[in-house]
């Protein structure tokens, strides 16, 4: 039995090691390693490229640890038992890149792989470009050491792991987004302090160590103390609970309101973009997450909202309103127009389900793109030149021209959408949608007018997209057909999948991860689609319900509550 299970473990280690090796080779070949190496994480210590270099090994070791924990109980007793398999996987991980290293010396590889250059050599040998053998040893040694550390980590109790990884993740995040963090701290800390922590945008070694220790301590407290806090909360009287929840909400809202002042102009701009995608995510979630209608043409509604606002408010040659009609009058018109578009596009696809619906809606998105550049509509919406000179919204005499000010419009829109979506979710309408998502035939047999309910889902979902489009147009001040490609739909869908389908909090998190990260980190934005793809594949395999699943999906995974079991037994 032992023999058998260790055989399976070695087989798994072979598989995962080779996958990690190919991944490492791949990020090298596309130049990602070298690009990331230019970004220093901790001053004179670690670069982003070096982190990327060890990521495949870390992932492989974690996977092996998971595998052993899940299927093979005996490894739990001897944590050291996993180390040989991990070293083996680390060697496998290094081999493809080492082979390429050797090839690059005997052949002219650069004529095919142009990224196999000095920069690549530098990172892959950990700065021992001149003595390649030593460099190869360094790579192998580093990966092996990392794999040993991770395999010991993987054998630790769950809470300890949770606490330790919290420390690492926080430290890594601060180091990665050093520029942003430094920018925010600028407002709060005196100049000297800031200079002690950062050198330009990069955090120094000492502060990193302090941050790492501090965040690990916090992480451990949280990991071991959260039960106590929860119990404490559960034992409070309902009234106290309500007060606690309300005060939390008040703190959150106050923070949200103060945010633009805290983060400054350029970050406010990012916040507005993230807000737009949160808004669209919440809207699309009504169709996909609640009613189960896989709509791949969400950009349609976004475009309709943007173009209606642009055409009616522009002060340029194409402006139909002659520059008199303002943002606030047009906003409801844009909303209604988007709803109408959603309705019109929903009617022909009412009888379609699943894949067929997805393909049809994908087509609608393309139709809108073609209409926007068409000669037919050019006199009204400008064809490829788009509509220019869209005035900024005014609010009681103030022109909201800065991102800090536009932020409040998007914040209001997000909060309203969130409230509407939560209320609908807990209502008769929400239950109709869920029933349709689960089994459309049975929903019909229960007396639900499914056609009506689906039309409503499409239309409400479209309304949110229309608002997002209108705000987008006002923010940019111009609309061009190039802004409304299928990628918008894919982006919104991806953030729903990554965050957690049907989960509002998940969608907000998804928007921060997918839209925010590339904005904060140039290195990420260059490889945006690659990272998207990798993340989506990872999510599909490991976390199909998203990072923050909806309550109902969480409940699914919980064990049955003890009082119920008693009842069943009695």
């Amino acid at each position: 039995m032992e023999n058998n299970s260790s055989q399976t473990l070695w087989r798994y280690a072979t598989k995962i090691g080779l996958i990690a090796g190919i991944a490492l080779l791949y990020v090298g070949l596309i130049g990602m390693l070298a690009d990331f190496n230019e970004k220093e994480l901790v001053r004179k210590l670690i670069t982003l490229g070096q982190v990327l270099l060890v990521v495949p090994t870390i992932a492989a070791s974690l996977a092996i640890g998971n595998f052993a924990r899940k299927d093979r109980g005996e490894f739990q007793k001897t944590p050291w038992a996993l180390i040989p398999a991990n070293i083996y996987a680390a060697i496998l991980t290094a081999i493809p890149s080492l082979l390429l290293l050797w090839l690059s010396q005997v052949l002219d590889v650069r004529s095919i792989f142009e990224n196999v250059n000095r920069d690549w050599l530098e990172i892959i040998t950990l700065d021992h470009r001149r003595e390649l053998l030593l460099g190869a040893g360094w790579l192998l040694g580093t990966l092996i050491v990392i794999s040993i550390i991770i395999s010991i980590f993987a054998a630790l109790p769950k809470r300890l792991r949770k606490g330790l990884s919290f420390g690492v993740v926080v430290t890594l995040a601060v180091a990665m987004f050093g520029e942003t963090v430094g920018f925010i701290l600028q407002e709060l800390l005196p100049e000297d302090w800031l200079r002690a922590i950062f050198r330009r945008d990069t955090i120094k070694q000492g502060p990193t160590l302090i941050l790492w220790i501090a965040s690990t301590v916090v992480g451990l407290f949280w990991a071991f103390g959260s039960d106590g806090i929860q119990k404490n909360y559960a034992s409070q009287a309902p009234k106290t609970k309500l007060t606690m929840v309300r005060s939390w909400q008040a703190i959150c809202i106050a923070l949200l309101l103060a945010l633009p002042w805290l983060i400054g102009r350029s970050l406010s701009d990012v916040a507005v973009t993230i807000g737009l995608f949160i808004l669209m995510g919440l809207g699309l979630n009504i169709a996909i997450g609640l009613a189960g209608l896989l709509d791949l043409g969400y950009v349609t509604n976004y475009a309709v909202g943007a173009y209606v606002l642009a055409a009616l408010t522009s002060t340029g040659a194409l402006g139909m309103g002659g520059g008199v009609i303002n943002f606030w009058i047009v906003l409801p018109i844009a909303l209604l127009a988007a709803m109408l578009a959603g309705f019109i596009f929903a009617v022909p696809v009412l009888k379609m389900r699943g894949d067929y619906l997805a393909i049809a809606t994908l087509g609608f998105g393309e139709i809108i793109g073609k209409l926007a550049v068409s000669d037919w509509l050019k006199p009204y919406i400008g064809g490829a030149q788009g509509i220019l000179a869209i005035p900024k919204p005014e609010f009681f005499g103030t022109t909201l021209k800065n991102p800090e000010q536009l932020y409040y419009i998007i914040l209001a829109a997000c909060i309203i959408t969130l409230v509407v979506s939560i209320r609908l979710n807990n209502s008769r309408t929400g239950r109709q949608w869920m029933a349709i998502r689960e089994d459309e035939d049975v929903a019909l047999a229960m007396g639900i007018d499914t056609a009506r309910a689906k039309l409503l889902a499409f239309t409400l979902s479209a309304a949110t997209g229309g608002i997002a489009g209108a705000i987008f147009a006002a923010k940019v001040g111009a609309v061009f057909p190039t802004s409304f490609t299928v990628l918008v739909s894919i982006n919104v869908l991806s953030l729903i999948i990554v965050g957690g389908m049907g989960s509002n909090i998940g969608i907000i998190a998804g928007a921060f991860i997918l839209i925010g990260m590339p904005e904060f980190l140039r290195e990420f934005s260059d490889y945006r689609w690659l990272i998207y793809g990798a993340l989506l594949i990872f999510m599909m395999i490991r976390k199909p319900d998203g990072f923050i699943p909806s309550k109902i999906r969480q409940r699914e995974k919980q064990t049955i509550r003890p009082e119920l079991v008693n009842e069943v037994n009695s």
Binding site: V420, R423, L424, N426, S427, R428, T429, G430, R431, Q432, M434, A435, R437, E438, D439, D441, V442, A443, L444, A445, M446, G447, I448, D449, T450, L456, L460, I552, R553, R555, E556, I560, E563, L564, E567, V568
Partner: protein
């Protein structure tokens, strides 16, 4: 043949025909379901029993003939309209809303009687709040009626098999139907569960006054509680009447067991599948 007269019929069909391409699944069927009683549809596998249910509930459109509910034609209505007219059903292979809780399943079942709109839900009007509260109360009562108190928060798919069958019936009852169609309610149950379910079905009819139509293979259940039995074979009605008439009817026995079997067996001994 039967003591019930046709004027008592809650549901009645005349010359009903349903074809799938060249296959005639239901051929020129006349039937009636007496009001306030338990009726059964029996017949060998492939006799057209489930097709018959699907025709009544509007999932299949019949090619010829008519179906009357309380004397009014319903065969041109859509399934949701028929549900609103007072016919509920369960399914042969349980079809619950798996990722919804037991309570939510029952609340969806009340659809035919709910009136609040989506706008009311967004604004949070007193009417919509009250309806939502009352609907939850009624759903809890129904769960209690099917012996599932305290399990309302569990996801339907996590419930044990017997509970899932009962939940499906509770969901069908939530629509306050006049007529409930149960497609093999005891399939996959052991003898004691079957006995419990049989008793429960009688309770539906006697206490709630709902007309019940069963499709059932277990002859003990059929003969035990039905007052009226229709036998189908190859889409045609081959017999109709009370349990006693059917049990001794040679045509029925022949359909089940083949030629020559008549006279030697009692149909009540033919078990479930």
């Amino acid at each position: 043949m039967s003591e019930v007269t046709k004027s008592d019929a809650i549901l009645q069909a005349n010359g009903m025909i349903k074809r799938f391409g060249g296959l005639t699944a239901i051929n020129n069927l006349d039937f009636y379901i007496p009001r306030g009683k338990i009726s059964s549809i029996i017949g060998p596998n492939g006799a057209g029993k489930t097709t018959f249910f699907n025709c009544i509930t509007g999932f299949y459109k019949i090619d010829e003939g008519e179906i009357l509910m309380n004397g009014k034609p319903i065969h041109r209505k859509s399934p949701d309209q028929i549900a609103r007219a007072g016919i509920s059903r369960t399914f042969q292979n349980i079809r619950l809303f798996n990722n919804m809780t037991a309570l939510e399943n029952v609340m969806v079942g009340q659809e035919t009687h709910l009136k609040s709109s989506w706008m009311g839900a967004i604004v949070g009007t007193p009417f919509s709040r009250r309806e939502s509260r009352e609907s939850e109360e009624r759903a809890n009562e129904l769960l209690a009626f099917v012996d599932m108190t305290g399990k309302g928060d569990m996801l339907a798919k996590n419930l044990p098999y017997g509970d899932q069958r009962r939940l499906e019936i509770a969901r069908a009852l939530a629509g306050q139907p006049q007529l409930i169609l149960l497609d093999e309610p005891t399939a996959g149950m052991n003898p004691s569960e079957t006995a419990e379910t049989t008793e429960f079905i009688s309770k539906l009819c006697n206490e709630l006054g709902i007309t019940v139509v069963l499709i059932e293979h277990d002859m003990r259940v059929v003969m035990g509680i039905s007052e009226h039995i229709t036998v189908l074979d190859y889409g045609q009605k081959i017999a109709e009447g009370g349990p006693k008439d059917i049990q001794s009817n040679p045509v029925v026995i022949e359909a089940y067991l083949g030629k020559g079997a008549a006279g030697n067996v009692n149909l009540a001994d033919v078990g479930g599948h």
